[in-house]
Symmetry: C2
Subunit: 522 residues, 2 copies
């Protein structure tokens, strides 16, 4: 397709007017055509009105209709895979294989939500029958289920240009819930966004859902991003990005006359604890697995392991091995200049702290290149300086030597909320393992045994969430079918005639879904 450099608004395209910007090839620094035309705040009003109107129609569509729409989006994306790969590799420096895999994940997610809608039980229908004869007052008939919350704003993630961007997990789950989606594009991959946006638009047309169900806006996060979150028609927000960015949106949303939820996935250092028995039994293998996880995708994953904690015994050989493996990795280009410079700055800041030593630092070449970094410190030093737990987004980790069990538990207790926490253990580590997991359960959304945090499986049991600052709300997950309820609210119908109830709540269960009837699952 010919890229036009404009937003998708309703059935048409934006006209810009608030400046323009080009994507940059992070390898060469070359500016890419076309220029992308930023929309201004006046566009926000129009887009939100369209979304609110579309909601009136779209929320009434059946699960099957919405499923067909999601499948159609996936099909349209499949059809432009080559175009996506061609543009995405140039815009992001991500290798072709990763682009194809992420395209696969994106379409898999869309189809997983389609499956969920076709099966239908996700609405959590609950029915209590009336008892007109009950004393002292009759018992009413009460039936309730999840319903869509309204228009949702999704902010594209720079590190997942497909799977957490235009038609990524947030968009898929919001559309599945029955909510129109307004996507705010990320400036680092506007062309990839436009190709995917065109695919979604094609599916909108093909399936006959209202045009306002999808919009894709180019422009500044500080202006139109904030304006979208403030707009009264917007009822929820999905965001994947920095802690500062997420917090700014959370604060804006909380200050509204009608506060709305911001489902923000922000910041984590994903600690990996290696207990003594495990270190002794397979320190070499753990070092290898760890460095693989650390350097995967130039460390640009929210689940990248930024802390590696082990005991004193065997630590020096382990640290040497981790450092030497890391030192043997090649530097690579990061997603964009902003990420690369923030990475180098974060590493420099960490190295300058008292008690931190550099164990390995792969020299980056010019441009947006980054190499693996392994730093070391003691538990005492770490506990004395809270900022050592700050995220260095990229392939850098801080190894912490914890002299004894108490020090290791102290490190765990000191941590803020995390997406993941990993423990390597053997049967010999049983006692300290139990204590450690007890602490880590309070800290993380996902606990990993003898593994590594990168690689987030898209499945029913997954939790990609965790207490603040990992996400804005530890109760949620942004990956997997459960993420759909982020964009819903509960509604109860009391004493309604059967033919006026939503299909999911009708007495004879025409959809054959699993429901809770008079307290028991049917």
């Amino acid at each position: 397709m010919d890229l036009q450099g404009t937003s998708f608004i309703g059935a048409g395209r934006g006209t810009g007017g608030a400046g323009e910007a080009r994507a940059v090839n992070p390898v060469s620094g070359e500016k890419l055509d076309p220029a992308y035309h930023a929309e201004g705040e006046e566009t926000v009003e129009a887009v939100c009105r369209l979304a609110a109107e579309a909601f009136e129609d779209y929320r009434g569509r059946s699960g099957r209709e919405k499923a067909t729409f999601l499948r159609s989006i996936a099909d349209e994306i499949d059809a432009v895979e080559e175009e996506i790969v061609a543009r995405m590799t140039v815009e992001t420096a991500l290798p072709e294989g990763r682009c194809r895999m992420e395209k696969g994940r994106t379409c898999f997610q869309l189809r997983l939500f389609a499956d969920l809608l076709e099966e239908g039980s996700w609405v959590d229908a609950r029915i209590d029958h009336a008892d007109p004869g009950r004393a002292p007052v009759p018992k009413p008939d009460c039936r309730s289920m999840w319903r869509p919350v309204g228009p949702v704003v999704v902010f594209c993630a720079s590190n997942f240009p497909l799977a957490y961007s235009v038609a990524g997990g947030d968009t898929a789950s919001a559309l599945a819930a029955g909510c129109p989606v307004i996507v705010k594009a990320h400036g680092s991959h506007p062309g990839t966004a436009e190709i995917v946006g065109a695919a979604v638009r094609a599916a909108v047309t093909r399936c006959g859902v209202p045009d306002g169900v999808f919009a894709l806006l180019y422009g500044s996060g500080r202006t139109i991003g904030q304006a979208l979150v403030r707009h009264p028609a917007v009822k929820a927000v999905g965001f994947t990005g920095s802690r500062a960015g997420g917090r700014a949106l959370m604060d804006t949303a909380a200050a509204r006359p009608e506060p709305i939820p911001v489902w923000a996935e922000m910041s984590a250092v994903n600690p990996v604890f290696v207990l003594p028995g495990a270190l002794q039994e397979r320190g070499e293998a753990i070092a290898e697995g760890f460095v693989g996880s650390l350097t995967l995708g130039v460390g640009q994953f929210c689940t990248n392991p930024g802390l590696l904690i082990s005991g004193r015994e065997g630590r020096s050989a382990f640290a040497e091995r981790v450092a030497s493996l890391a030192a043997g990795t090649a530097p690579a280009t990061m997603l964009h200049k902003g990420i690369a410079s923030a990475y180098h700055e974060a590493v420099d800041t960490m190295i300058s702290k008292e008690g931190v030593e550099s164990l390995a630092r792969v020299e980056a070449e010019a441009g947006n290149n980054a190499g693996a970094v392994v730093l070391g410190t003691s538990a005492d030093a770490f506990l004395a300086d809270h900022s050592m737990a700050d995220e260095m987004f990229g392939p850098a980790t801080l190894m912490i030597e914890a002299g004894d069990e108490e020090a290791m538990l102290g490190v765990a207790e000191s941590l803020e909320g995390q997406l993941t926490a990993t423990v390597h253990a053997t049967g010999e580590d049983r006692e300290v393992f139990a204590k450690l997991i007890d602490v880590l359960e309070r800290k993380a959304g996902r606990l990993i045994y003898n593994g590594y945090p990168t690689g987030v499986e898209v499945c029913h049991g997954m939790v990609h969430g965790g207490p603040v600052p990992a996400t804005s709300d530890g109760g949620s997950t942004s990956v997997g079918p459960r993420s759909i309820t982020r964009f819903t609210r509960l509604v109860c119908w009391q004493d309604f005639p059967d033919n006026l109830l939503p299909t999911e709540l009708q007495e004879d269960n025409p959809l054959g879904i699993s429901r809770i009837v008079d307290g028991a699952r049917s």
Copy 2:
């Protein structure tokens, strides 16, 4: 029991130090013994530390253990019913029958959550099995479920001294989830709170759960209430009360370094729409039912119907009938002076608005007496002045004459979030009914057909929630089993050996609960 006038903190009692206050008999104005000793901010630190310590133990208790504890609380409350009734009637002016019924509801809720825990499926366990042979990367084993979030602060409601206070719905659901609870007593019924607090304390001792699982604090909402919500150990808040009070807590919670959810149930006018067919067919019965709902409990329910909307035809006879029925009701004493004076002020303010006429106003006698009030206005006037939708907490309602269908839909569309929305209709009203319900579904947590909003059934299908300002979060309910998830977060265990998993997630399902395994409900 001899009331001591002090807080419950750990295994002991508070010593106060931040002033003292006595409850007031709202009928006589007489001050009641004993004086209640307010705690200051320094107590907050100690109480939160105890709760955090207790969480470490309590969250590991099995569902059966927690169920036993909840049943024990209910038993202890049952055992002091006479003491509760004796004190509560004097503190609140609520009639004996209401006190007994609310005691019954409170114990019913505690036992309902005990049932839920014993059955066990509420944790929403989801299991995806590993596929080590999957290409290009092996699929991990992922298992997840709801886990308790941590210490919870519950603010007692003045209008439900039992069912939404010390051992009410918020406390019961938080304890069921596995969270310690710190209750902030309401100043209007401190003695009732102390009796119930002693019952909970007795159950804590009897069941051997940690002392820090429960605390009851007397003191100022502006000082210790705010300090509790700011404390880092506190992970969620339950509140039932005014919009201003709820919003103040929401703002404090949102401004924390780690924002936490405030589950606030605040303000609603619970519109009742009477469509033309229904008015013609049974206007008389609707008037009777409506006035009964309006004046129940001196209108001191969050579901009190504050708006009554009908068309022009037959409106004047209907309005006359509503007014005459309301005029025939007796004034009664409200819960406390603050509520009574706020009620009179709100009614006076509403009457003074342009286009509002008084149709009936039962004169209140001296003291904290309040009588039913019926006001009237037109849809045009209502739509021109947004403040006409403000809540008058008490037995007052505003009748709106909507000239045509469009006006009625306009009124519905203009409303803020509501706990309930009611429509009276017949088959003849089918078309306008469908349009109206479409609007109201976006506005309310519970839609009622041909009924009245007061009376909130405690059952699985109930939703007592609704968009802001009805509650702080339209996704939730504060009544019924679903309310438990407000105090939980999701945790995933990846690749854990079976014996290290929580019982709910172990392979052979020792608890026999309903789970989702590899995407299908088992």
